[in-house]
Every structure is written in C-alpha cells, then in structure tokens.
C-alpha cells in the first residue's frame, strides 16, 4: 500500500505563532528550542562547554568586552554586578583566569549598580557605565580609572566626532550626596578628550536636557554620521555641526507620547551602521533611514515572554558568529523571568529559542581568549 507523504523540507522556518497552524507553511514550527535554523537546515546549536565555572566575586557578568590598547595589546574583560568593596572589572587571560582590576578610591557613600553596562571605544580606551560608579574606563593597564572630571555617570554611551557622549545621566555619581538622576540629559566631552567634561575648561564640552520630549532616554548609538538618542516611545537625532562651541544640534524625530521607540532600554543593539531594538508593537531593524519590522509571525510568543519578564532586565545583542568557524549573524534577545533568549538569524530571517539549565544569559560576546 502506498502512503501519502508530506514533505517538510528546508529552508526551514522558525517559530510561527501569529497565525493558526493550518495557515502556516508546512516547514514552520510551533516551537524550536536549542535548534538553529541555519543555512536551510535545522541544526542542534553549538555546544557550550566549561570556561569559567565560577566567577571571582560570585556576581553575574553584565558585560563582556574586548579592545586593543594604545600599545597594540589585545584585552578581553568582564564587568560584573555591584558588590560593595569589590571591583566590577576583570581582565581575562589564558587559563582562563579572571584578573581583578584595581578600582579608584570611592567618595563617601559611593555605590555601584546592578544595571547592565554600555560601553564606548575612543582613543584605544574603553569607557563604560551602568548608572553606578562614575564613568570609568580601561586603557589596558591593571586598573579601572574614572573619566577625568566627569560630573557623574550615566546609563548609556556613544562616540561621535571625537566626543564621548553620556546619556541618562546621574550627577554626581550614585550614592554621593546630592546625586540626581537626569533621565533626559545628554552630555558630551571635550572634542578629542573623553576625560574633559567641564565646559569652563574646554568649551567644546557641553550638555543638553531634552525638555521637549515626553519620555526618558533609553539608549544612544551612532549610525553613520548622526547619533540617535533613543527614548521609550521615540527618537531624537543628534547631528554634528562642526562648530566647537555647539558641536551638536538636536532634532526630535517624534514628540508623540506614544510611538516607536526603544521601549526595553537594553534591547538596543548596534552593529556596523544599523541596529535592532524592541518597541511596544514590534521588533525593528533601523539603518538610519529605514525602519524594518522583524518580529514577523513570531511576535505573539516573543511578546508573551516580554510581558512575563521579571527579576532582571531584558537585553539584546547582535552577534556576528560563534567564532569565525561558525558564521551566524543574529540578534539575541534575552528575557529573564521566562529565562529564554529569542534568536533572530539575519541570513534566514527566522526566530528560534535558546535556553540553558544554567539560567538566563547575562552577557554574550566573541572575544579574544588567549
């Protein structure tokens, strides 16, 4: 007897939740977990093996970064949650070993933060902040240093025309008497000097409070020529002027109380001159001129997970590969609570899920390891 076959063949689609299964293509799925849709195949994802089974201060890693210092040496580093009296930064060396970096003396009451970090590279140094300690940087030496006369710290960082830019500022830094959060403030350093923030010393430094907009800053990045100040429900564009006294001009892309913005602050992920962010209605790819929704037919399940987010921050990162031998340009959106990471592959344009019995992802990065 001849049976009827139903061929289910690649290129496979990922998770399709926004239409009844009878309407979905036969090679779409109700769920894909720890499998990747990759190059037309349905593959088990790469194995994750032991690297650092425990962390020096027992705190979750909030950021993994890499940079080349002014002497041309390569570094990879970890930034961890706040723990009183302990450094938040560790340099990786072969072994692997997480080497603690010294931290400057703190002002009375000064505290760190458990928020996620953002970073910015300028002049072979890497600056980082998470709204806790004063804006800090690594230069390849064995210590963290505070960024000159920075008035405080911030949640988000970017670089444009030789200025280091802080957004969502806390001045002075958290825990210091008088510390105040300015959720709509953008502050930039002197031109070419990320350690000079005093406008009286160098008039090319400055700040601007976005008083016209109805929502708070949730991120900042530079895409090509301008920088984009992301808000919960809109965008403000920050154009370089070329004028030392007033190096940036601000244009509010939208002022409506509701709209497309970076609703989950750390979901903003930048790659080359484009980025991905999570708004209230969809997940978008933005290249400075075109805003392309990529949530596709998977939004229902992703947003159900976003609604269930608890205990920690949603965050996203664009990853080009899992080292060069495994190209996999993707956006990884981690949602604590459901403890799931939704992965969108740009080559295949599909969403799948990642999970681990070791909890939810707190950072991911391809870095130098020896």
């Amino acid at each position: 007897m001849t049976f009827q076959p139903q061929v289910i063949r690649g290129p496979f689609q990922g998770v399709v939740s926004d239409t009844p299964f009878t309407e979905a293509p036969p090679n779409a799925f109700d769920d894909v977990l720890n499998f990747f849709v990759r190059k037309g195949r349905m593959q088990s994802r790469p194995q994750l093996g032991a690297y650092l089974p425990t962390l020096p201060n027992g705190q979750p890693v909030r950021y993994i970064g890499k940079f080349k210092d002014a002497n041309g040496n390569l570094h990879s580093f970890l930034l961890t949650n706040y723990s009183a009296g302990q450094t938040p930064a560790y340099m990786l060396t072969a072994g692997p070993v997480a080497n603690a970096l010294a931290i400057p003396g703190l002002t009375a009451g000064q505290q760190g933060s458990n928020q996620l970090f953002t970073d910015a590279h300028i002049q072979n140094q890497i600056y980082f902040a998470n709204g806790g300690y004063p804006l800090s940087y690594l230069d390849g030496s064995n210590a963290i240093q505070f960024a000159g006369d920075t008035p405080g710290t911030c949640n988000f960082l970017a670089v444009n025309v030789s200025h280091l830019i802080q957004a969502y500022c806390t001045e002075p830094a958290t825990g210091i008497s008088g510390s105040t959060v300015f959720p709509r403030r953008v502050r930039w350093s002197a031109s070419g000097n990320p350690q000079e923030w005093n406008t009286a010393t160098d008039f090319t430094a400055g700040s601007n409070d976005l008083l016209d907009v109805p929502d708070d800053i949730t991120g900042i990045n530079t895409l090509g020529y301008p920088s984009y100040v992301w808000r919960s429900n809109g965008i403000t564009v920050m154009y370089p002027t070329g004028q030392g006294l007033s190096p940036f001009q601000f244009y509010n892309y939208s002022l409506a109380p509701d709209g497309v913005g970076n609703f989950f602050p750390y979901s903003l992920a930048t790659y080359t001159n484009w980025c991905v962010f999570v708004a209230q209605d969809n997940i978008y790819r933005f290249d400075g001129s075109n805003m392309t929704p990529i949530g596709g037919m998977t939004k229902k399940k992703i947003y159900a997970d976003l609604a269930a987010n608890s205990s920690d921050q949603v965050w996203g990162r664009i990853v080009p590969n899992f080292t060069l031998g495994y190209d996999f340009l993707c956006y990884m959106l981690t949602i604590p609570g459901p403890n799931v990471t939704w992965i969108y592959t740009f080559d295949d344009g599909q969403w799948v899920r990642f999970s681990s019995s070791s909890g939810y992802l707190t950072a991911v990065r391809t870095v130098y390891t020896n």
Partner: protein
C-alpha cells in the same frame, strides 16, 4: 591676525614648492596639530636648517591658542633666490616644551626629484622604549632623468630608525623606485615625536619625508597574545554565575532541544493514520533523535508514540543520509510531531523529514 585653528588633527610634514622660480614670493600653509593633551599657545617660529634665510614665517599669526585635538594653519612664504634647492626646518615655539616642526623645501625648475613614499609616515601610539612594528618605505624617481642616490639620512635619528636601507650609492631609473626598506619607531620620551628622512642625490635636489609618532607611558597588563577568539556565554547560574565557551566545531548541544509542529496535512475533517517518518540528515557523527507523534481526544488520554532513531556514523563526513522512524502507527485528525534530542546526544542537522500517512475516513462526531 592670529593663525586659523581648526578642529581635528591634521599634519603636514613638509611644505614643498616644486618647479617654481623667478623673483616672485610664494606662500604656503602647514598644518601643525596639537598632539598633546593640554592647551598650547604657539608663540612664534624658529627657522633652522640649510637655508633658513630664504623663508619667512609672518610674525602676526602668533600667538595663537591651540586646544588638544586642534590644528593650527601656519603661514610660510618663500622668495626663491635662485639655485637648485632650498630647505629649512620650521620649529614652532610654544609656552611648553612641546615643539612641533615641519620642513619647507623649495625646488627649482628642471630639478630631478627623488620622492620618499609615503611622504608622511605616521606610527601608532607606542610605549616609550617599546619597538613598533616595521613600516615599509621606498624612494620613487619622479624626475625626468636617472636619479643617483648618494645617501638616505634622518635629521635627528633618536626615535626613528632606518632598517635595511639600500646600499648607497644606487641609481633609480626614470619612473622607477628603490628597493623597499623599513622604518621603525622607538619613542624615547612621552609625546609627539617627529623626524625627517632626507634623500640626497648627486646633481639633484635633496628630498625628504616626514616621520611622526606618539610615545605613551601606558603599561599594558593582562595582554592576550595571538588574538584567538572564542564566543563566551555568561549565564546567571541560579546563584552560581558562570561563563561557557561555544564550540563552533561541535553541534553536540549540552542541553536538550526540539522542534514541534501540529499537522493536519491539508486534509481537514479526515482521520489520518501516521505510519512512519522518513527523512534526510547531514552526517555530522553519531546521534540519537526521537520522533514523538501525539493525537488528542476529549475525555481520553493522549495517544502518544515515541520512536528513537539512531543517525550518523563515526565517519562524520557530512554525507546526506536517510533515516526511517517506524513503526509509529497513530491516528487522529490532528497529529503533533515533535523531533527532539536529549542533552549530549550527538550533533543533528536535519535536511528534511517526511511523515507518511493514509486517510482513515471522515471524522465522526468530532470533539
């Protein structure tokens, strides 16, 4: 009027007047960057070298304040007095020890010219005493006669070194170039370092190129040599945070995984009897997958059949191979198929899978 100051770092190692002559005065501007981390006041200029009297640096453009990351445009003029070649070194005086300099050169008509390339060679910031990487250098004959090079020298020779220079004298044909040699930068002190490489020829004008670099005091720590990369996944760990490393060469996932789909196979209102599942996979090595078929009826337990399938070979040659999962007889109008693998149960790369079924009559009664 003070010299013009622009934002950004721009540099000219040399102002070069070529093939000009006669009694006229010629003007040029040199970019002089403030490469220090403090504001500088340029207070004047000092001319030195072979022919300082042939050039003029107008005094009215000083003093001028130049912030870090800014560049001053310094005006220099020359009145050719005749002769083949005239060279001077302009050193900018400042209110600190910072003393940038640049060369001014005037070449007469008909001069044969050996052009060092690159004319401005900049090195990355380098720790004092540390040896930079080598930078390639070459001399081109841009003149209209054979160039006879008699010497290649550095003006100061304290921070920059010629390595492997061609043995002089040697000839460079018209339009030709010298053998490639290298320049190395070993800063002796912190800050901007400059030198001038001069090519001397017989019967020709000297020619020069500018060498620049910055010495730093950074003491690197915890360096990673080689730059081998790995993809790190930091996880919350439920109270014991940890970091895992991705293995790009192994799809033997350490966690269980699955993909699942509810099917009606475009035959609504018909019971279907699933008989087997065929398919193809890439052979990445031994693995076990499992197909689970499930149907559901009101008031009754789910019908479930799970069939493990061993796939892959020790060859792991990527060959496309077939598999069959049978028997898995199960009936229902809607049948959910789940393909899963247990943790550490081998690498899986599915190309296709093909459920085979037969209609088993109309659904009676429904649910």
């Amino acid at each position: 009027m003070p010299a013009t100051v622009i934002n950004g770092l721009f540099s000219d190692g040399i102002i070069l007047w070529q093939s000009v002559g006669g009694p006229a005065t010629f003007d040029g501007f040199a970019c002089v960057p403030n490469t220090t981390n403090q504001t500088q006041t340029f207070t004047g200029a000092t001319l030195s070298g072979s022919n300082p009297g042939d050039f003029t640096v107008p005094a009215g453009q000083f003093p001028v304040t130049v912030n870090p990351n800014q560049t001053a445009l310094i005006h220099v003029s020359v009145t050719p007095p005749g002769g083949v070649s005239h060279i001077a070194l302009v050193t900018i005086n400042t209110n600190t020890v910072f003393a940038p300099n640049f060369q001014v050169t005037f070449n007469q008509f008909g001069t044969q010219y050996g052009q060092p390339m690159p004319s401005i060679l900049g090195f990355p910031t380098t720790k004092v005493g540390q040896v930079s990487t080598f930078a390639n250098y070459q001399i081109f004959n841009t003149g209209n006669a054979i160039l006879y090079v008699t010497n290649i020298t550095l003006t100061t020779g304290t921070d920059f070194f010629i390595v492997g220079a061609p043995i002089v004298p040697f000839n460079i044909p018209i339009g030709g170039s010298s053998a490639v040699f290298t320049i190395q930068f070993i800063p002796t002190v912190v800050g901007a370092r400059n030198d001038i490489l001069t090519v001397t020829g017989t019967g020709v004008a000297d020619s020069s190129g500018s060498l620049t670099g910055i010495g730093s005091t950074l003491q690197s720590a915890f360096n990673l040599t080689g730059g081998t990369q790995g993809s790190l996944f930091a996880l919350s760990g439920g109270g014991n945070p940890l970091i895992l490393l991705a293995n790009p060469n192994s799809l033997n996932t350490e966690e269980p995984g699955s993909f699942v789909r509810l099917h009606d196979w475009q035959m609504p209102n018909y019971e279907k009897k699933l008989m087997r599942i065929r398919g193809h996979y890439e052979d990445l090595g031994p693995a076990t997958i499992s197909f689970k078929a499930r149907s559901r009826r009101i008031g009754e337990p789910d019908d479930v059949i799970q069939v493990p399938v061993v796939i892959g070979t020790a060859f792991a040659d990527g060959w496309l191979r077939e598999f069959t999962s049978e028997p898995c007889p199960l009936s229902g109008e809607l049948i959910q198929l789940t393909c899963s693998r247990a943790a550490n149960s081998g690498p899986v790369s599915i190309i296709d899978y093909i459920p085979e079924f037969e209609p088993a009559g109309e659904v009676i009664g429904g649910t």
